[in-house]
Amino acid sequence: MLKKVNTFWLAIILAFVFYGVIQLLISTAIINPFYSNTLIFICINIILAVSLHLVIGITGQFSIGHAGFLALGAYISAIMTMELGMPFSLALVAGGIVAALAGLVVGIPSLRLRGDYLAIATLGFAEIIRIIFLNIDYVGGAAGMQVTHATTWTTSFLCLLLTIVVIVNFTNSRHGRACISIRENEIAADAMGINTTYYKVTAFVIGSFFAGIAGGLYAHNFYIIQPVNFGFLKSFDILIFVVLGGLGSLSGAVISAILLTVVSTFLQELPETRMIIYSLVLVMVMLYRPQGLMGTREITDYFGKWKWKRIKGGNQYGG
């Protein structure tokens, strides 16, 4: 146990060292605004990918309406800062909480559904959110809403770190194991005393909360938010991060979010062929790694490989 605590703090310290180096490079203008903006965008996408990973990869509930929660977080936080004059940090939290509440309201009825039906219900929910914002003049309707630029490398990195720590800690506890058991075999999980509805809704609410936080960061990074940014294509973008990384692998979701954000950012210079190349990358990965980049493994599994081998080698089945 002591060893686990130590590796946890080691990872936190490493993360802050990484943060400090990037921050230094930004403040000394070695990294220009274009690249620092890309870094912020990567953080936002990782938060989205990891929060959806909890719902799809861990709990096994195929939800494809994540952009709805992103939209809620974006609009609520924008209203907080622009209309009510609240500080940015408070707006971020408010966006997350409202998205989490929406997750609760949507999750309780729709998580009774399975597979395709859940996917359709969540997709429908995301469209409802988008159309509601499209028809409210208070937030600018189709023209969108102007938002000040407030998202910095520091805020997005802190939000990212919080997301990963919370979701990793949740996953590696009795609660996370309960969620995984639902993914693996819902009937058996139920028979072992797991309240499956409770854990499906909980995972959904936590995922929605962080999608809302990502929405706040997103809104305050682009000067303007419009309902068209939160269509179902956005939901699919997030879904692709999770599937491409490998269902059930958090580090896979992180890696594919980084990879695809970088690819699509640099492809902006080639507007004509952008979507073709992006699609080709997806097709290639799915052809050669159908289980996703990481499969169900985590990056930390590779660090402990010698240990794993030793267990494998000394494998004896009793009886």
Binding site: A191, M192, Y317, G319
Partner: protein, 262 residues
């Protein structure tokens, strides 16, 4: 048998559309008993298990566990009241480790909250350590502690069967329901299983209800046997009584044989 029954099933039945899968089923289980439930394929044995564990809600009759009515409760609530089961076709959490499979079943006995886990508070570490120690102790009884880090799907078949029983025990049952535990096992494995079942029954103070096709196993360890056919209880009694019961022979071998013997 002066004790009160731990499980009292009276006149339980269920219809699927027009089909009566189980009709007028009665069963009394007293603490510490080991009862067998047998019958030809499609007789409704697994349906009885699903009724007892809350997967199906009976359309008639009453199921009482320790004097408390449990029909209509959700499966996870039934498990928390003290009935735990294994499945006819093994249902393990395949991608989880052997250890985690057992830990999942300890879930409802642990108390540390989601908040304490997310923020890694003291309660989280105490709770998780307790679970780990209990799970490893249990795996040792089933000789699975050496493969505790292996994924459940990588165990050989016999190991998976044993793991399923271990997992069912971890949920802390008073009454254990075993659905064909010896299915697909060779005679040696079946013998080991019989010993194991007798051992855990003593060790954990269990009452056991067993569905089995392997007559040697059923006749060898069960004190009483109930026989189902076409959803109806056709015979009840000691192994010897059941073996010679005309209706049982009829159900298994057909009418023709009886008349020839008679």
């Amino acid at each position: 048998m002066e004790d009160k029954p731990i499980l009292h099933v009276s006149q339980v039945g269920i219809n699927f559309g027009g089909l009566k899968a189980v009709d007028g089923f009665n069963l009394k289980l007293y603490p510490g008993e080991l009862i067998g439930l047998i019958g030809p394929n499609g007789a409704g044995k697994t349906t009885v298990f699903n009724l007892l564990t809350g997967v199906y809600t009976p359309t008639e009759g009453e199921i009482m566990l320790n004097g408390e009515r449990i029909n209509g409760l959700a499966p996870f609530k039934v498990t928390r009241k003290g009935i735990s089961r294994t499945f006819q076709n093994v249902r393990l959490f395949n991608e989880q480790s052997v250890l985690d499979n057992v830990k999942v079943a300890y879930h409802s006995l642990a108390r540390h909250s989601i908040i304490s886990s997310i923020f890694r508070l003291r309660n989280h570490f105490i709770g998780e350590q307790e679970m780990e120690a209990k799970a490893i102790d249990l795996l040792k009884i089933f000789q699975l502690d050496k493969v505790k880090d292996e994924k459940a799907k990588n165990l050989p078949y016999g190991g998976q069967r044993r793991l399923e029983i271990a997992r069912a025990l971890a949920a802390g049952p008073e009454l254990l329901l075993l659905d064909e535990p010896a299915a697909g096992m060779n005679p040696q494995e079946t013998n080991d299983l019989m010993e194991l079942i007798s051992f855990i029954r003593e060790q954990f103070n269990l009452t056991i209800l067993l569905i089995e096709h392997d007559m040697k196993l059923v006749m060898g360890i069960c004190e009483r046997i109930s026989v189902l056919d076409h959803g109806l209880l056709i015979a009840e009694g000691t192994p010897d009584e059941v073996r010679n019961h005309p209706k049982v022979i009829e159900a298994y071998l057909g009418e023709e044989v009886i008349s020839n013997h008679a």
